[in-house]
């Protein structure tokens, strides 16, 4: 299915975003973080549009044609392709923070297991790890980094409302887990979003290891 672009979006701009998403997806798939066609990835195109992965594609074999345009409420623009069911969680981030340009959602075993383990607390507290410094605004291992864990639901508006409530409470939010599911994180550009994702995958894995060691 071909993508028809609004007049305000040059083809080169959309292709640039689509290629960047496809490249990142392939590399993240190689880590095993996108099993069984799960996970989705997006980039802001302009104030009103984002490019996002089409639902159900194998993330390890993604190309430009597997990316589509949506508006900031998650509706398809200029295509009959179906965006991920979770597209609203991406556009929520773009609406809330105008300087965020990339949103990544993956589904690694570590992320899924951590989400189940910490679901009863509603949060993963990361403390004492040097790699917390990979998260924007964190300059020392001595601060704490809270990653909320929201209950899973197939009804997107409920998930959106949970994220909104956390943001409105005034607590910082760099990423969140959904129980039994995976992680959402983001950044000002692809490099920052991937640094956040890599750091959080690493830190969640360390926390699981410490618990396995009863430490």
């Amino acid at each position: 299915m071909s993508q028809i672009l609004p007049a305000s979006i040059p083809a080169t701009l959309f292709h640039e975003r689509a290629d960047a998403i496809a490249e990142a997806a392939r590399e993240l798939a190689q880590h095993g973080w996108t099993p069984a066609t799960s996970s989705n990835f997006s980039m802001r195109v302009d104030a009103d549009h984002a490019a996002i992965t089409i639902s159900g594609r194998d993330k390890g074999k993604l190309g430009r044609d597997d990316i589509m345009l949506v508006d900031m409420h998650g509706k398809a623009v200029g295509t009959e392709s179906r965006p991920s069911a979770e597209t609203e969680l991406h556009t929520q981030v773009y609406r809330h923070w105008p300087d965020i340009n990339v949103v990544l959602h993956t589904h690694s075993r570590t992320q899924s297991v951590a989400s189940r383990l910490f679901a009863k607390d509603g949060v993963v507290k990361l403390e004492g790890w040097e790699l917390q410094k990979a998260i924007r605004g964190h300059t020392t291992h001595e601060s704490a980094l809270d990653i909320p864990v929201f209950p899973n639901t197939q009804h997107m508006p409920e998930l959106v409302a949970q994220v909104d409530a956390w943001i409105e409470s005034g607590k910082p939010l760099h990423a969140y887990l959904i129980n039994g599911h995976g992680i959402y994180t983001w950044g000002h550009d692809m490099a920052e979003a991937r640094r956040h994702l890599e750091a959080l995958e690493f830190l969640l894995g360390c926390e699981l290891d410490l618990r396995r060691l009863n430490a």
Copy 2:
């Protein structure tokens, strides 16, 4: 040993199936799911025949010549090559579900360990995981997904009878484990069969992790 095809099967059709099997096998071998020449893979060719891996070959180095033709009772057709000892478990699936076209059997460490751990229950119950939605017909993490674990035996008819008994009981069946051995799963096409396999490998791994964490 060369493969002689029945007049009803064009060489291009058989080669297409053989190449698809060999490609999938090489990719699954790279994950480490086919240790020591274990595992076997097949595709339906027509109503009466399937293409299947020849016994004992290194699955990481599979080519078209490592695939042979069998009838729907697992007997070699047009070749003196020996099919896997477990070929009857493949043809049983093709006989039972005419719209299933691919059967995959792998032997990962996670699958083997899970089969031993859950053997006493006779089933692995998967609940609360978003990735259950990767299994055909599952649209929510809230439903349960039961994967039976059958006792191992070197006598194939016993294994066939165990699978038949489960099917005849009317319970859904998307995959099964054999104790101390590995997993069987299938799909309408290669993409679906691989999605099922990837999702189940992931979910079994998550369940083992939760138990290691006493969670």
Copy 3:
């Protein structure tokens, strides 16, 4: 340092062996089974000689020039290169079983940890695993497979004597672990030796997993 061959050994024969060893070493190194220049690999060249890896080389980058000739008592032949300190453990196998042509010694984390865990028992008992059938002469998961664990020593004759004592006791021997060290296994050809190595690495990993799960 160049290798001078005895008149009885054609250069093509030695090169064939050296290339086969180097290829296997590179592939096993990719699995992470040869950390920090550890591990050694050999192939029989004729009744009186074997080709073996030179001491201290990076097994992931091995080429033909990293292989040397030794006699059946582990002494260098036609070269000033130094063979592995453990060469006598290879030639012991060739002397004892004239139809064994390949010996592999690796040093994976699973092998090292298993050797420490089972050292007090002096043996790893493998039972109930389908993959035991990958070991020559084993046709069912119902038989038991015993892998002895010998105490480590830097004094090779002691290790040789321990292996001799096991063989002389009449118990079958397909492989052995050395405590805190790694595994030795072998085969009639490279394919069989690698199948044994892959199967044992897998089965030791499964046994460790079951213990981690208190199963």
Copy 4:
């Protein structure tokens, strides 16, 4: 930002060092030991200078232009690039041991978790592992190898002082961990430094495994 070299350092010498660092970094990144732009690597250039990775670069994609020159107190020389915050820990090693030419600092999950687990003891004691022989000067598994674990701090002079105190106490030092952070190790050349790093990663992993097994 371009690098201007002092007259005493030929461009070919600096490029040789930069290329060697970049190649090692890429290979270590492939193991997953440098998550989220963490880790840093250096080589001595002459008695007064070292080449070191520029802060914040993705270690998996490092090239010659990601390496800069510093003096032996960690100050940038001939460039406005910013060296890693931890550069002083590298130059401390070069100042103390004139025959050490390579320093490697990585940040694997095993290293981070081990640093937290052993922080209360202040040391990891490695005993009974054959791979201890990969550390310079160790000829048997029977000796003990102590790797200190220092508390983490964002104030470099404190870290430098902790390392100095250990050295001045007369105890051997081949590597150290920083709590919640990673490992520092070194060697006379790149091959030795990498052998030390690989061996220590392996041995720390084995120690964690033994504890997971309550062994």
